[in-house]
């Protein structure tokens, strides 16, 4: 790759966004390097989309500093956006235009030539598996197809930085996995990815590094593996005793594990050795209705950091 591998393409310092009196993003700091895949993780209303919009230079920050590709978005919005590919959370397709026309007109906004676009549009339709639907109006596409079209649209200008706000919401499992693979390949070619998601598996698959956000603040930052290591144990045992009884057994279980979380429907026990712990539980005369031993995930990191689950 290029020598500028470690070049910082997005730099945010004390970045803040207020809507009237409401603070949606509360003084966050982060940097994204070229070719990196950077994730924003957090529950509804955490401020992910707001942060994405500020980076996309379509929403003006109300405080702090922000540079994208070395430029100030307040004054150089159009130049910055020329190098960005944006896939917003709401698709915002032109419902009156056909699938291919949506891609074509969008490309024209970047001043791309018709000749270039003619070929590019076909490539992108293929990429999004919409070749057969090229002449359908955007309005007549299924939800998942519209999502794929929006993703393809974000790629029409061959962006350096691709901003994906919940890219896989509404996609079926197969389309999701294929998209992950394609995004990974784009990254290999040097495209910087910025991704928001609620899905832990997605973040673990796609992101080199991520920030966990809640209520406009950064709760933690690091690679998925490092975060799991820092905020969780190696393994987790999930047990259920039935809705009313979980609370009752909690004190007993607390002594057996490193740490426990009591959720309305189950109890999570954090430990280095899951199977051993499960045996101990049974030996102690406790008989959960169901039990499960699994590896720790970002979900657990999130629970630890906020005391809440991500996807209710």
């Amino acid at each position: 790759m290029f020598a500028k591998d470690s070049e910082v393409v997005i730099r945010a310092k004390n970045l803040t966004k207020k809507y009237k009196d409401f603070v949606a993003v509360d003084g966050i700091d982060f940097e994204v390097k070229r070719g990196e895949s950077f994730g924003l993780l957090g529950p509804n209303g955490a401020g992910k989309s707001t942060t994405m919009k500020m980076i996309s230079s379509v929403s003006q920050r109300t405080g702090g500093e922000l540079t994208i590709l070395g430029k100030e978005p307040n004054t150089h919005g159009p130049e910055i956006r020329a190098h960005l590919g944006v896939v917003p959370q709401k698709d915002l397709l032109d419902r009156e235009l056909k699938a291919w026309e949506n891609l074509f007109t969008y490309g024209r906004y970047f001043g791309l030539s018709r000749k270039f676009l003619k070929q590019k549009v076909e490539e992108l339709l293929e990429f999004a598996q919409l070749t057969e639907k090229r002449n359908s109006k955007a309005d007549d596409l299924s939800g998942g197809m519209q999502r794929r079209l929006a993703i393809a649209r974000g790629l029409v200008n061959e962006p350096e930085i691709l901003m994906l706000d919940e890219p896989t919401t509404g996609l079926d499992p197969q389309a999701r996995h294929i998209l992950w693979d394609r995004l990974f390949r784009l990254k290999e070619q040097g495209v910087t990815l910025v991704i928001t998601t609620h899905y832990m598996d997605e973040a673990e698959q796609l992101c080199d590094r991520l920030i966990v956000m809640d209520k406009g603040k950064i709760m933690a930052e690091g690679s998925p593996a490092a975060l799991i290591k820092q905020y969780s144990s190696k393994e987790v045992v999930e047990v259920r005793f039935g809705t009313d009884k979980n609370e009752k057994f909690a004190p007993q279980l607390e002594e057996l594990a490193d740490r426990i979380e009591v959720l309305p429907d189950r109890i999570l026990l954090y430990t280095e050795k899951g199977e051993e712990l499960l045996t101990k539980i049974v030996d102690a005369g406790l008989h959960p209705v169901t039990s499960l031993v699994r590896r720790s995930s970002l979900e657990d990191v999130f629970l630890r950091l906020t005391g809440r689950t991500l996807v209710e």
């Binding site: 159009p78 915002l92 419902r95 969008y106 906004y109 490539e123 061959e158 693979d181 495209v191």
Partner: protein, 276 residues
């Protein structure tokens, strides 16, 4: 999903991308519009013909048969023609800024998608206005052609009439764009504007009856809104209509001012809404 490979950032020529944004927006809107060509033509031709037949000839027959013709000095058709022309231009340009602006911000929110590219807020506003003027020009040309066929205006004033009508269209549309950009939702907006602004303008701007002979409390409608100014200019251009030179300058100046103020109020609001 087929694979996609490219060299990041190589495709876009930034200078080119940033420069002609307004034309790009216009290009796309003209393109969508071309799909409506049938109804655009029908409305463009239908409206003037219908009004000319009913008001110009139908009511005109009643007026001319009575003493009305003497009051006006010309046939009723000649009297209303410049007003109908200006009103068509005003309506035509205005429709093409109000609907797209509300659509772009409130209904389909497409302005937000366009603004995520290298196109700026100001360029979007300009693009919308370019298209509106294009559509207005088309409508006005058709209208003028039909007026010529009916012998309602002289051929010699073709271009001056086109200019005074389009000037009014632009001035008013700019103001309406500034207002529409300030709407957060569309509750009854078009109904209210239609009933309380457009209809009174159309009816009380000296369109069908000399403004000076209307009750004094109705005359301000003519002074404030664009139609009367454009109509006065049109009447001087199409027949021997007495008007003072200073008034000509006033009419032209007022319409221009309206346009300039409208655009100056439009840009910052577009910028604000697209950077929230």
């Amino acid at each position: 999903m087929a694979e996609l490979s490219y060299k990041p950032g190589a495709a876009v020529d930034v200078k080119r991308a940033v420069r002609w944004g307004a034309l790009r927006v216009a290009e796309y809107r003209f393109y969508s519009m071309s799909k409506w060509m049938g109804s655009i033509l029908a409305f463009g031709l239908g409206n003037p013909i219908l009004f000319l037949l009913s008001v110009g000839l139908g009511i005109g027959a009643l007026v001319d048969a009575n003493s009305g013709g003497e009051t006006l000095g010309v046939s009723y058709l000649q009297f209303v023609a410049p007003a109908l022309l200006a009103s068509a231009a005003i309506q035509g340009v205005m429709d093409e800024v109000t609907f797209p602006t509300l659509d772009g911000f409130v209904w389909d929110k497409l302005f937000f998608a366009i603004n995520a590219t290298s196109v700026s807020a100001r360029q979007i506003a300009n693009g919308v206005m370019i298209v509106a003027l294009g559509r207005g020009l088309f409508t006005t040309l058709l209208y003028l052609g039909i007026l010529l066929l009916f012998g309602a205006v002289p051929l010699a004033s073709f271009f001056p009439l086109l200019f005074t009508s389009m000037l009014a269209g632009w001035g008013w549309a700019a103001l309406m764009m500034a207002i529409t950009a300030r709407l957060e939702n569309d509750e009854g907006y078009f109904a209210v504007i239609g009933r309380f602004v457009i209809a009174p303008m159309f009816l009380f701007s000296g369109t069908f009856y000399p403004l000076e002979q209307m009750p004094i409390f109705l005359q301000p409608i003519g002074w404030i809104l664009p139609l009367w100014h454009s109509t006065e200019l049109g009447r001087t251009l199409s027949y021997d209509y007495p008007i003072e030179p200073s008034m000509i300058a006033t009419h032209l100046g007022y319409l221009t001012l309206m346009g300039v103020v409208g655009m100056l109020l439009t840009y910052p609001k577009f910028e604000e809404r697209l950077s929230r």
